[in-house]
Symmetry: C2
Subunit: 238 residues, 2 copies
Amino acid sequence: MNIILLTAADFCTSDQAVITNQYRLEHIRNIHNAQTGDRLKLGLLNGHLGQGRILSIDSKQITIGDIVFDRAPPAPLPLTLLLGLPRPKMLKRILQTAATLGVKKIYLINSYRVEKSYWQTPWLTPDAIHEQLILGLEQGCDTHLPEVTLVKRFKPFVEDELPALIKNSRALVAHPYTSHSCPAQTGENLTLAVGPEGGFIPYEVNMLEQCGFEAVHLGERIMRVETAVPYLIGRLYS
Amino acid sequence: MNIILLTAADFCTSDQAVITNQYRLEHIRNIHNAQTGDRLKLGLLNGHLGQGRILSIDSKQITIGDIVFDRAPPAPLPLTLLLGLPRPKMLKRILQTAATLGVKKIYLINSYRVEKSYWQTPWLTPDAIHEQLILGLEQGCDTHLPEVTLVKRFKPFVEDELPALIKNSRALVAHPYTSHSCPAQTGENLTLAVGPEGGFIPYEVNMLEQCGFEAVHLGERIMRVETAVPYLIGRLYS
């Protein structure tokens, strides 16, 4: 938590806010060891970055005053991420990581190798997704909430929605069995598809290619999705 | 587990091996759904990649026959990684990730912001480290075990050992508060230092700089170490 994200609901006056969320309270008290008078780095959800000063702090709440938001957050990555729905434990980390790295559009899509039970996890409820995204933004010092879309049917999505979605971007699908290596430092507007554990099946890769995706490999090593996402972002953007 | 790594001890004849490790048994039976007759991708620890065929499989052991090792593993990354000792949960994942990505030399070093208790974790025993590295190699289809060195005292290490260690490499330290951005796609022989959560303190960065390290930033976003490592490797190497 390198910044604390506030929302309008946290404010009691125009420049004072109260934090009662237990996780944050503990983090600010125990990790930051914050005391009355200390400055805190803040962000306004979907707004600017700024700071405030602790007016009072105890085990139940922290009151922050002198709040100003005076700096723009980092530029978003011009990247739309399509991920084969990861298993729940990995999902949490990937949502956090994507938010930290500045991804603003994430599609969690079904695929042949996605276990059906993954769609039942409580980590896919809007509140749970929101929580992981906030943690990722607070880590990355960003304020703009990514948009996460759940896509439970692969084929109609690829046929009916994806063509419009990738229209103004270069579309890549990470796939071990292709001769083209992934481009580097393009900085382009990209749509990047990464399969689930075990990868997309050839039928799915074919469908994505017909839709306009280029299949690109990442070398001989097979990475977990949670490794591939930061690896690819580090590679594609400067 | 995209390959199964065997050691000499697993072999009962020159081309037959027996697996009794419970984790692998379950993975091969339940995730791969492997049956008698199926081919398995194999690797010989610190040797070549190859394959074999399942001769028999039950809940206690798997016997693999017709084993041949006929392909070299991927080239190692010309990268030495110096990491401020991460907290135990993160340590496991980082060791796996580094092994998956082809890092062959890892130094886990003390630093002002490393909590003393982290040095007491059972995940730092040689067996525990070995296990995580094997998991990482099996994910990345690699066979060569990385070498992990624990450095409990920062200052004497940086003063007495590090100069020789970085002699034939370009040395970088990831540090948010510098004006130089991290190079990309250099492919060079590198030594890369990444601080613990909260980063190296200025005194430590100064010491590393005096030793010959260049401080480089990764943009405005602050990443967790487990994110920064694959991000940096994706950025530095093609």
